[in-house]
Amino acid sequence: MANNALIQMENLTKVYGDATPALDSLNLTVNRGEIFGYLGPNGAGKTTTIRLLLDLIRPTQGRASIFGLDVKADSVEIRKRIGFLPGELNLWDRLTAREIVNYLGNLRGGVDNAYVKQLAERLSFDMSKRMRTYSTGNKRKLGLILALMHKPDLLILDEPSSGLDPLMQQTFNQLMLEAKANGQTVFLSSHVLNEVQAICDRVGILRAGKLQAVETVERLTHVDFRRVTITFRDKVAPSLVSGVTGVTSVSADNTNVLSMQLQGDFDPLLKAINSTYVQDIHIEEPTLEDIFLTFYGGQPANHREKATV
């Protein structure tokens, strides 16, 4: 194991029943002190990876280690140093958040109550209510407090900011950056690129159970293109825009609607359509799949995942 490696997965495979592998021969290393974004559409295998790391499920093949310890044989030792936020937080409905924090904190030998209070204040979270009364966003905040309260060496967060409003998203980003500054490592899964873009050092892209790439965020997000759909008042030919600098994949879905992929500046395209009457221009940011395919060559898929940049 490399000295700097905190999480190491070797040939990690998980097959449920006789189906296609949910995770297929994953080899991935997460370094100490980095914020690693684990990106992929729903069903790509992100949660399966996290559950394997937490020893909630067992690999069909391969192995994983955290802190140099085997995730199965040394799971209790590893979990002392991990903070976990599941994708969907389910807890005891009749307990208050404070009771839950105390219970799970006691399982860790107690936590710093002043720090818990500070976290609750930063997240604008009322700890006195029963779990069943919390909204999705508030449950997410409680989940973050539970993950952070014992200042773990490693944070494993499954879709951490889903359900958080934009203001809380900013607070979350700050908390993650502070964690990094404190030497903590963060492994977070997401299907939202701008979430990882803001805070992650590196990103791994998972697709259909296979790790497609591991890149720095800078490199990945320098793929500069958009999908543009222009609605004209009158019928136009695709040749109106094909050949324009930066424009590719032109398609005419309707007699007066042209769709295309635009890379680079808008100016050449706007000049090309200058003489026509434009009713509407719709600009779509590329999906993860689009970025991935563009980044590594090939055409963006027609099937669009629900991911945004």
Binding site: Y16, R51, L54, D55, L56, I57, R58, S75, V76, E77, R79, K80, I82, F84, P86, E88, L89, N90, L91, W92, L95, Y103, L104, N106, L107, R108, G109, L146
Partner: protein, 267 residues
């Protein structure tokens, strides 16, 4: 950290001992209040004499004179049925060990804490065993009150008869823990475990009714036969049966822990 789950489970479920123990005990108290003197019991025994012997055997009465004593009447009308209610509680408790929290996704968070699956199960099993004991003690309190205010009874037998529900309850708890650990889905575990309780009762009932036939073998595979609540006042504690029930319960606990230790959680 050791003991946290045990105390948390006790802290949040100890009231169940009052509700269940109170409910069961109140039923026993009412039965005792209905028998102001032994004459009533003798009249009742004469009524029962007209019933077919097989039917009486099914209810655990081999000699009608058993019913003419307060203790015997209580065994017939209370202890022979109360195990069904205790069984129902033990099923609910057994499901709470893993199945309920796994079904709700709570185990994902709980098992991200530094505790092993084995520790989680053992602490919960111990906590629910204590609660079952508390239920029995609370119910005994009501019976004792009945014996004081209604009809004099042998308190020692009454206490032993109440405690006699513990081994069979632990067997049902063990069975449910095992099924919950094995099948994962709470509703399926509930159905199988409830079936175990009810079928156990009917196997005992039918086996006793047909004591002369081959069907009697059913009593050998029913936990209810080893409980023997209906005959307890005449037989006293049958230590062999107690040992069998506790041993089966322990084997099921260990098997449940072993199954749970090896499998994926929450799928």
């Amino acid at each position: 950290m050791r003991g946290v789950i045990f105390w948390q489970t006790l802290r949040h479920h100890w009231r169940q001992a009052l509700y269940w123990g109170g409910g069961i005990g109140l039923l026993g108290l009412l039965i005792l209040l209905m028998i102001p003197n032994v004459d009533i019991l003798q009249q009742y025994a004469r009524l029962l004499e007209v019933m077919p012997p097989a039917m009486m055997q099914a209810f655990g009465v081999t000699d009608i004179s058993q019913v003419t004593t307060p203790e015997g009447f209580l065994a017939f009308s209370y202890f022979s049925y109360m195990m069904l209610i205790m069984g129902a509680y033990a099923v609910g408790a057994g499901l709470n060990v893993t199945a309920v929290e796994e079904d709700r996704g709570i185990l994902d968070v709980l098992l991200s804490a530094p505790i092993s699956r084995t520790q989680l199960m053992i602490e919960k099993i111990l906590a629910y065993s204590v609660i079952i004991l508390l239920i029995i003690l609370v119910s005994f309190g009501f019976l004792a009150a009945g014996a004081v205010f209604s009809i004099p009874m042998d308190m020692g037998k009454l206490f032993a008869g109440s405690l006699n529900m513990l081994p069979a309850s632990l067997t049902v708890l063990g069975f449910t823990v095992f099924v919950g650990a094995w099948v994962r889905v709470r509703t399926t575990a509930l159905a199988i475990s409830a079936g175990f309780v009810v079928v156990g009762y009917f196997f005992d009932f039918i086996g006793r009714a047909a004591s002369e036939s081959v069907i009697n073998v059913l009593t050998k595979i029913s936990y209810y036969s080893y409980y023997g609540g209906g005959q307890f006042m005449s037989t006293g504690v049958v230590w062999g049966n107690v040992a069998i029930l506790i041993a089966v319960g322990l084997i099921l606990f260990v098997a449940g822990v072993a199954v749970f230790q090896r499998r994926d959680i929450g799928l």
